[in-house]
Symmetry: C2
Subunit: 338 residues, 2 copies
DNA sequence: TTGAAAGCGCTACCAT
DNA sequence: ATGGTAGCGCTTTCAA
């Protein structure tokens, strides 16, 4: 069963290739009757445009690329990425686009992937996340003139549309929640330093802490992994004056640290309150369940995809703002014991 | 900066298109010197073959497709799928292939996706998982003559290479572990009925239970989700003669059920032992940590990808067997209290 | 309204 | 060893 081409259809109907192409693309230039006959035959034959041929002649791959640039361990454990993939795929496929996916273990590989994709005309645009400090990606993509959308950045970026988050209000909400419970010394186990929003969150939390007089923020370094989070927590709790609450930059570190804290005899939330910046099943199923900032990642990814499609289509796309996260209070945050 | 083509290279070097194509594909038919000059110029220009042009003329997309056919909820919460994606992508990209990904919420959509991909010549083959009862996919793919590899099936399949698992020994191991701890009545919260391996596991567990005289297996239906698992657990525990141990077909149901059981006053493992068929971070971080069957999903996906590449390349691929799962004993299984 | 024909970039066959 | 050249399947321009 050979796969049919427009030539087969043309022969069958008794018209030219061009007529078939017009009819199939709803482009006018064919009489209604021939159009219908062409569509009928195409359907009968189960015809579908060859993606390669169409890409070659239209110079459009109808594909969008995403590089997941995190360690395999983080990719596996963080539901975040699958939600992104799912949100993107659903939106893209609804618009006739495909998703090209790649993993990259280091920044150089990631850059090389964009170069290759673009040179091979494999993608019409790319979606980026996790803006880093001194991030080389925007410059490269601008230079290559690759349509790109950044999502989850802190603010607008020259030449690249962004879907940005405002960490200001969230920081207020986090500190406000804990301060209201009587916490005065609050730890903050951060994500990787190289991520731009890590610094941003720290700054906003510090600002928010300053506004609630008497609240001190004690930052420490995590890396989004279980072990990194646990180590940071141990350092905070070992200090001469340990915090009575800790804010974790992701769910994995929060959950792992709670388990570890309890093994060390520190009861949560009686002696230590815990708040996670990302929500997920992890936070819901552990005991105590963890207070978290929830966020519809799939929907955010879907919006980013729409922005990118618009950019590809029209050449421009407006920045837009992510829905703010919501605080989901659970059992891991309670009144300070002191 | 227009993207260069082989014509640009040919002009620059002063040879024909064909010579350039030969040189770039290492195909002989060009003198070493011209070959080198061509490669130099190509590198200088940053040339990359247009994927569409190559696909069109070679009739090879250099792409493999995977449809993730589960509900968004399961996709999000089960680390399994991201591991599959990661394992596939790494292997494929190492061989110059890409991964085409799609989601499908129902079987009809999944079938339609294969039809479309194949008709559009978008993929050279597909990878399948989760063989269902009365699964229409093998027949369709055979009919379409799409190279395909099934992975995680229970046994060989006519016309389609499989990467199969032997649940026999695992079942022995599961029942053996619990029987040795003194459990005589063991619950089994299954996965969705429509999955072929659900029935298979049940059968193997029952067989194994029969072999350890005195052990009774009490199966109940789950669906891999938190709520489904919790409901099944509640039914089991509400029975006149509740089991002292429960085997869960995945980690999500196990973890959610432990949390729920404890809320109901059933202590784990003192009053109820719990064993999960899949291991993941979830099982490690909750307290008590959950005894589980661990399994290198990424490696399995990588093998499946290699099989598919071989099938695409040579037209044949041998069946192969998955590495058996390993029992990771943790705190959730302990001696029966009775 | 219709059809012929020129690409799109690459592969591969056939002369030279 | 080298260079024309004919496709691959589709889009699109230009005549008819």
């Amino acid at each position: 069963m050979k796969r049919p081409t427009i030539i087969d259809i043309a022969r069958e109907v008794g018209v030219s290739k061009a007529a078939v192409s017009y009819a199939l693309n709803g482009r006018g230039g064919v009489s209604p009757e021939t159009r219908d006959r062409i569509l009928d035959v195409a359907a009968d034959l189960g015809w579908r445009a060859s993606s390669a041929a169409r890409a070659l002649s239209s110079d459009r791959a109808a594909t969008v690329g995403v590089v997941l640039a995190r360690s395999p361990e983080v990719l596996r454990t963080e539901p975040f990425f699958m939600q992104v993939v799912a949100g993107l795929e659903q939106t893209l496929s609804a618009h006739g686009f495909s998703l090209q996916l790649a993993l990259a273990s280091d920044p150089a590989t990631e850059l090389e992937t964009y170069r290759r994709w673009w040179a091979e005309r494999r993608v019409d645009g790319v979606l980026l996340t996790d803006l880093r400090v001194q991030d080389p990606r925007p410059a490269l993509l601008r230079e290559l003139r690759v349509p790109a959308v950044f999502f989850g950045t802190e603010r607008p970026m020259a030449g690249i549309p962004v879907l940005w988050v405002d960490e200001h209000d969230i920081a207020d909400s986090a500190i406000g929640h804990l301060a209201a419970l009587g916490h005065r010394r609050i730890g903050h186990v951060q994500g990787p330093e190289e991520l731009r929003h890590t610094a941003r969150r720290k700054r906003e939390l510090r600002r928010a802490a300053a506004e609630f007089s008497g609240v001190t923020l004690v930052p420490d370094r995590g890396d989004y992994t279980e072990s990194g989070g646990v180590a940071a927590t141990a350092r905070l709790l070992d200090a001469p004056e340990p915090p009575t609450a800790i804010i974790f930059d992701n769910d994995v570190m929060a959950v792992a640290s709670v388990a570890r804290a309890e093994e060390l005899g520190v009861r949560v939330p009686a002696e230590l309150s815990v708040l996670a910046w990302d929500d997920s099943m992890l936070c819901r199923v552990v005991r105590p369940a963890i207070t978290a900032f929830s966020h519809d990642v799939g929907a955010a990814a879907a919006s980013a995809a729409l922005m990118l499609l618009e950019l590809i289509e029209t050449g421009v796309a407006d920045d837009s703002r992510l829905q703010p996260r919501k605080l989901i209070a659970r059992a891991s945050t309670a009144a300070a014991s002191g």
